[in-house]
C-alpha cells in the first residue's frame, strides 16, 4: 500500500505495465539532455574567453609599447613602428552612430506602416523586400556605394548640406566634398542595418495585444494616438533590442565601409571628410603586416573593437532593462 501511495500515477493505470520503465527511461534521457545542454551553454562563454585571451596575448606587445596612448594617438606609421588607433576607434563609433541616427526613424516608419497601416496584400511583399536588403552581400553594397551613392552625395547632397544656413557653417559639414567620407560610410551602414531594425520592430509591434489597442481607442484616441501612446510604448524594449542588433551589425561591418570611408588615419570633425574604422583597418593591413609590432598593433585594434562592442552591447542591454522595468515600477 505504501508504495502504491507513493506512486499514484501507476495505481491509476494498473494495466499499463510499461509505465514504470518509461519513467526510468525518460529520467536517463532527461539527465543526458540536461548535461548536453549544460555543456553547450558553458561552451559559448568558454569559447569567448579563449578568443579574448588569444587576442589579448597577441595584442599585448603593442599595448605594452604604447600604453594608453594607443587609444588616444592618431599616428599610425608602420615603417617607424608607431601605432595609435584613435582615428579608427572614432570612425567606428561615429559611422555606427550616423547609421543608427538615419536608420532608426526610417526603420520604425517602415515597421509602423507595415504593422498598422498597410493593407494585408501589401504587407507581405513589402516586408519581404525590406528583409531582402539584409541578404545582399556587403561587397555589393560597397560597389553600389562607389558607383551610385558617392557620386550622388558628392555632386548633390554634400553641396546642399554645406549650403544650409547655420548648420552648413558648423565644422560638421566643413571642407571640400570628395566622395569617400564618414557620411557615405554612415549612409551605407544605415541602409544595411535598416532591415534588422525594421524586422524586429515589426514583429514586436504586431505582437502588441489587441486589448492595449482597444484600451486606447475606447478612450477616444485617434489611430495615431493609439500608436504613439499605447502600441509603441508597449513595444519599446523590443524596438530597442532591434536597434542594438543593428548597432552590432554596424560596429563590425567591414567590406562596404572599407570601400566607402576613404581609409585615412585622421580624425576630422567634418562628416564630409574621409576617415577609418577599426574593422577596415584590420582588413586593409593584415595581409601586408610584416613587422611583429605592426601585427600586434592590429591585434590590439581587434581587441579594442571587441571591447567596444561588449561595452556598447552592455550599455544597450542595460537600457532595455531600465526601459522595460519602467513600466513595472
Amino acid at each position: 500500500m505504501v508504495s502504491e501511495a507513493a506512486r499514484p500515477v501507476v495505481t491509476t493505470r494498473p494495466d499499463d505495465t510499461g509505465l514504470g520503465a518509461r519513467i526510468d527511461g525518460s529520467a536517463i534521457g532527461d539527465s543526458i539532455y540536461r548535461w548536453m545542454t549544460t555543456a553547450f551553454a558553458l561552451g559559448i562563454p568558454i569559447l569567448l574567453l579563449f578568443i579574448a585571451i588569444e587576442i589579448g596575448a597577441a595584442a599585448w606587445p603593442a599595448l605594452k609599447a604604447f600604453g594608453f596612448g594607443f587609444l588616444t594617438s592618431s599616428d599610425w606609421d608602420p615603417p617607424h613602428n608607431i601605432f595609435g588607433a584613435a582615428p579608427a576607434i572614432y570612425g567606428t563609433i561615429v559611422s555606427s552612430f550616423i547609421a543608427l541616427l538615419i536608420a532608426t526613424p526610417l526603420a520604425l516608419g517602415v515597421a509602423i506602416f507595415l504593422s498598422e497601416f498597410a493593407p494585408s496584400w501589401l504587407r507581405q511583399p513589402v516586408a519581404f523586400l525590406v528583409d531582402l536588403l539584409a541578404a545582399i552581400p556587403s561587397v555589393v553594397y560597397g560597389l553600389w556605394g562607389i558607383f551610385v551613392l558617392q557620386p550622388l552625395l558628392r555632386d548633390h547632397v554634400m553641396p546642399l548640406l554645406s549650403a544650409i544656413p547655420l548648420l552648413g557653417q558648423t565644422p560638421l559639414f566643413e571642407g571640400p566634398a570628395y566622395g569617400p567620407s564618414m557620411l557615405s560610410a554612415g549612409l551605407i551602414l544605415a541602409i544595411m542595418v535598416l532591415p534588422f531594425i525594421s524586422a524586429v520592430s515589426r514583429e514586436v509591434l504586431m505582437a502588441v495585444p489587441r486589448s492595449q489597442r482597444e484600451a486606447a481607442l475606447a478612450l477616444g484616441a485617434t489611430k495615431w494616438e493609439m500608436i504613439s501612446d499605447a502600441v509603441v510604448p508597449y513595444a519599446r524594449s523590443g524596438i530597442i533590442g532591434g536597434i542594438i542588433l543593428g548597432l552590432g551589425r554596424a560596429l563590425g561591418e567591414t567590406m562596404a565601409v572599407t570601400m566607402l570611408i576613404g581609409n585615412v588615419h585622421k580624425i576630422s570633425a567634418s562628416l564630409l571628410a574621409p576617415g577609418y574604422t577599426m574593422a577596415s583597418l584590420i582588413a586593409n593591413e593584415f595581409a601586408e603586416a610584416t613587422g611583429d609590432l605592426h601585427l600586434s598593433a592590429l591585434m590590439a585594434v581587434g581587441a579594442v573593437l571587441f571591447v567596444v562592442t561588449l561595452i556598447v552591447n552592455g550599455l544597450a542591454r542595460w537600457l532595455v532593462w531600465r526601459v522595460s522595468r519602467e513600466g513595472q515600477s
Binding site: S211, A215, A216, L217, A218, L219, G220, T222, G327
Partner: protein
C-alpha cells in the same frame, strides 16, 4: 435556480433613492443624456451575419444587462455602441443605433468623439503599462485637458467614483501592473470614467475575478447607475439579477426579449428565455 435569485435583487437594498422605473419595459429617460436606441440593427463579419434586426431601448441612468449563450452576439452588439467592432476588417452593419436621438453611424459623427462619450471596460483588464495616475489621466489628456491641477482633480475624482482611491492614493506614481486583478479592473473603470462619459459599456467585467472582487465591481455599478447609462454583458444570471434594472436576452444573433429584470426572470414571455434562465440550454 433562477427564480429565487430575483429576491436578492437591488430593489431590496435600503439605501437606494426612489427611482422611476414606471414601465416594466425600458423607455428613454428624457431628463438625462445617454439614452440609446437601436433600430433594426444588423451586423456582419464578412459574409457571416452576427446580429439580426436588433431593436432595443437602453434608458439613461439605469443598468441594462445583456445575457445569452456564448456566441449569440452580445459582445458584437455592445461593441457596436462605441463603434469598436466596426474597425474589424470586413465588418459592416445596417440599421441605426441612436445616442440621444443622433445616429452614431451617420457620416457626420466622428467615432473618436463618440468614444469619449461612450466608455468601455473589457473582460480582461487592460491598463497601460504606466503609472496608476497616467492610466486615469490618459483620456482627459488626449481629449484636451491641459491644466495639471484640473487633471489631478479628475484623477482623484475618477478613482473615488471607482471606489479605488483609498487603496491607491499613496501609490499613484507606481505602475498599474502592480495592482491585483480586481484593482486593475476598477482602475480601468476609473480610466473610463475620467472622460465623463454618458454611457459605460462593460463586457463581462467580472468574469475573471474572484467572488470578493466581483462583489466590489457589482457594488460599484450599483453606485454608478444614478450617474450614467450602464450596459453590462454577463454570463452570470445571478449577476444580471443583482445589478441590472433591465435585462435583454440574446439568442443566435437576435434580441429575443427585453424587460424589467424582475419580470424577465420571474415571468419571461418567450419560451426560449425561460429555457435559458432555467438552465435548460446555453
Amino acid at each position: 435556480m433562477s427564480l429565487q435569485i430575483v429576491g436578492t435583487g437591488n430593489r431590496e437594498r435600503g439605501t437606494e433613492a426612489p427611482r422611476s422605473v414606471g414601465s416594466q419595459f425600458p423607455v428613454p429617460d428624457s431628463r438625462h443624456p445617454g439614452n440609446i436606441q437601436a433600430k433594426d440593427f444588423s451586423f456582419w463579419y464578412g459574409p457571416k451575419q452576427a446580429l439580426y434586426d436588433v431593436s432595443i431601448t437602453i434608458p439613461a441612468r439605469a443598468v441594462t444587462a445583456f445575457i445569452g449563450p456564448s456566441g449569440c452576439g452580445k459582445s458584437t452588439f455592445l461593441r457596436s455602441i462605441n463603434r469598436l467592432q466596426g474597425l474589424i476588417p470586413g465588418a459592416r452593419q445596417t440599421g441605426a443605433i441612436e445616442l440621444d436621438g443622433e445616429n452614431i453611424y451617420s457620416a457626420s459623427l466622428n467615432p473618436v468623439s463618440l468614444r469619449q462619450r461612450v466608455g468601455m471596460v473589457f473582460q480582461r483588464w487592460n491598463p497601460f503599462p504606466k503609472s496608476i495616475y497616467d492610466n486615469v489621466a490618459y483620456g482627459p489628456r488626449i481629449n484636451g485637458t491641459a491644466s495639471r491641477s484640473k487633471i489631478d482633480e479628475i484623477v482623484e475624482q475618477s478613482l473615488r467614483r471607482a471606489a479605488l482611491w483609498d487603496e491607491v492614493k499613496d501609490r499613484l506614481r507606481q505602475s498599474a501592473l502592480g495592482l491585483s486583478g480586481g484593482q486593475q479592473q476598477r482602475l480601468c473603470i476609473a480610466r473610463a470614467l475620467a472622460n465623463e462619459p454618458e454611457v459605460l459599456l462593460l463586457d463581462e467585467p467580472a468574469s475573471a475575478l474572484d467572488p470578493i472582487a466581483t462583489q466590489k465591481i457589482e457594488e460599484l455599478l450599483y453606485e454608478l447607475r444614478s450617474e450614467l447609462t450602464i450596459v453590462i454583458v454577463t454570463h452570470n444570471m445571478q449577476q444580471a439579477a443583482r445589478v441590472s434594472d433591465y435585462t435583454a436576452f440574446f439568442y443566435l444573433g437576435r434580441l429575443v426579449e427585453v424587460n424589467n429584470t424582475g419580470q424577465l426572470f420571474t415571468t419571461p414571455r418567450e419560451e426560449r428565455t425561460e429555457a435559458y434562465i432555467t438552465g435548460r440550454f446555453g
